[in-house]
């Protein structure tokens, strides 16, 4: 049975576990989008909830929702982890290549429409790889989590104008990359 999460920040461990189950997917999706790798995303999820537990006394529901607070920690942990990793090929790229391989195997069995859609998605994912670290969180929060500009501004602690400009810039880069990929194909 899922317990109430109400007292999680008062130190109730059962409530904390319920809180984890309620928010793990949300945190997981965001983490995965920032780092682009399942294993790393799991590490981030762990770090996020451990941090949340350790700083439970600093969470103030009057100042913002739990989801906003968790998103903020996730983005911070995700970015900081990403910076620590200094690998020549970005993990996003590795993931995309891996995904391409899987898709190639499946192509023969897929319905034509699905194949076209997959190729489209693959192009978008490849274009996403070209996005700089500061643009990924805004794109994820907007087009995956479907949050409002105001909510994104609160989570990332940047002004509304910056949310707009980052989204515009991210979209400009994505479209440019999509064009380049298309030209190559």
């Amino acid at each position: 049975m899922i317990n109430s999460i109400e007292n999680w920040n008062a130190g109730n461990e059962d409530a904390f576990e319920s809180m984890f189950h309620q928010y793990k997917n949300m945190v997981g999706r965001t983490a995965y989008m920032i780092c682009g790798n399942s294993d790393e995303a799991e590490e981030i999820i762990q770090d996020v909830f451990v941090k949340a537990w350790r700083s439970r006394y600093s969470f103030d529901p009057q100042k913002g929702s739990l989801a906003t607070w968790l998103y903020r920690i996730t983005v911070n942990v995700g970015i900081s982890k990403k910076r620590k990793k200094r690998v020549a090929t970005s993990s996003m790229e590795a993931m995309s290549q891996q995904k391409a391989r899987i898709e190639n195997q499946d192509i023969s069995q897929s319905h034509e429409t699905t194949v076209i859609e997959d190729i489209e998605h693959e192009r978008v994912i490849r274009a996403l790889n070209s996005l700089n670290g500061i643009y990924r969180p805004v794109i994820t929060l907007k087009y995956l989590e479907e949050l409002s500009y105001n909510e994104i501004s609160e989570i990332l602690e940047i002004p509304l104008g910056t949310v707009k400009s980052r989204l515009n810039e991210a979209m400009r880069i994505l479209r440019r990359e999509l064009d380049t990929i298309e030209e190559r194909q």
Binding site: E13, F16, E17, F20, H21, K24, N25, G28, R29, Y32, M33, S38, A41, E42, I45, Q46, F49, V50, K51, W53, R54, S55, Y57, S58, I73, N76, V77, I79, S80, K81, R83, K84, K99, E120, H121, V124, I125, L128, N132, I134, I139, T140, K142, Y143, L144, Y149, E157, I158, P159, G161, T162, K164, S165, R166, L167, E169, M171, L174, R175, L178
Partner: protein
Amino acid sequence: MKCDEFTQLFLAYLDDELALEELRSMELHLAECRQCQNEVESLRATRKQLHQALRLKAADIALSPELWSKIEQRVKGDKQPESSRIIRSKSKFAGGLKMLKELMFRQPKWRTATVGMLLLALIVALSITIPLLGGDSNIALAAEQIARDSETFGFVTRGEGDLTLIEVVEQDDDQATVTFATETGKHMTFHVDLNLKKVIEINKWIGINDGGYRPEDKMEKPEAIRIARTDPMVQEFMAEGPVIELAGQFGPDHEWIVHFFPGDIKEQPVRGGKYVLEGLGVRVDIEKQEIIAVNKGTTGVSIVQIEYELAEADREEAIDIVMDNPTGTGLIGQGYVVESVKRLPADFQRLVDVILMLEEQTIVQGQSFRVDLDKKEITDIDELVMVEIPVSVVQIGIELNKIEKEEGIQIANDDPRVQELLSEGFAFEEVVHASHTSGERSMSLWLMPKDKKGRSVLTEDGLYRLDGYCVQVDLGEGKVVSIGDLTKFLSPDDLEQE
């Protein structure tokens, strides 16, 4: 509005984020502009593709069933809040902060380097003068967590090994400083705002004595200062106003020298690239718990040197030494450039940091070479993360991107006082210092004369003095907060280049 102005709003339009007024004019415009209609449709298609691709990709993630047990295990191994330490600030530090704030407003030219250095000195002074007290351990933990959670934490601590929490100092206005010691013997202090849950400033430094860190310094410094403060001359000196205290181990291991300088060093003369300070030097024997000598005199203190005032000879000498080093030569070959040369706050040695950076990176990374000019050798090579401000003050938020800089210039351009200065032959310099001081987003824009040669004055030190203005912009409020005087000192070569 013209088409290109609407273009900036297309995404917000598709995201349902336009204000009513904007929405109306957008729809009116789209109704009559075929080109913009096409553009919106194309953007809509990309947006849809992106949305679908992201959902598809996110669906790939499968969380392992052991995830919770791993978290539970880590959480159970936590130390209890009682193990953290906190010390409380005293009024002296508040006075020091006030002085810093005044400096920031009155003397913009000091902002970049000196404030960081002074803060460092004050933090050092504070941490060595006030004993550890039992305090509100929750605040200590919260402060530590804010520091660890900050965007910059991972970045500035990279390669430093495990960090040991040294102390958390609660200050006025719900702020605290959290100091860690690194495995490499450095100290890092995160100045955090407990309400905003943000890091406001980060200072990173190596032991203030001879560059080498000795664990016992932490213990002996407060002792040295305590003994020095018992001297009547020191007490008299301190009664006159805020002081800056610098302590360093000197001579035999148990001997220390503690310097007391007036806090208002901005009023003091500059000579040979150093600020000449009149103060007291107290030699102390820690073992015997006694004062060996007290000297009143004038000392050239490099702590307050800023980049522009570093003597030309020192600069070239330091760069030459770095260029002779294989790592230095290698980096130059890879496109690194000398970003800055600055004197360290080491009292008794001519220590200089030569910083090589890769050009045009938003998050600036490079290598810092610590050069001992007396020994003519490199004593340390360090990876460096710095953002714009050429001292160890790392701005929060990592960087303000170009768009935000443009935003600052745009706000300044709307101010009538700025417009007047622009019409008087001043122009914005490329140097734009952006910072997130006190949890607010602000920006300093430098307005300097376009005709630098014609409007500079040669000083006794052989440097050219150039007077301009520093425009402080509050990006959050969208207005110019203050316009202060700004003085730059340029070497003849710098002037030629500019």
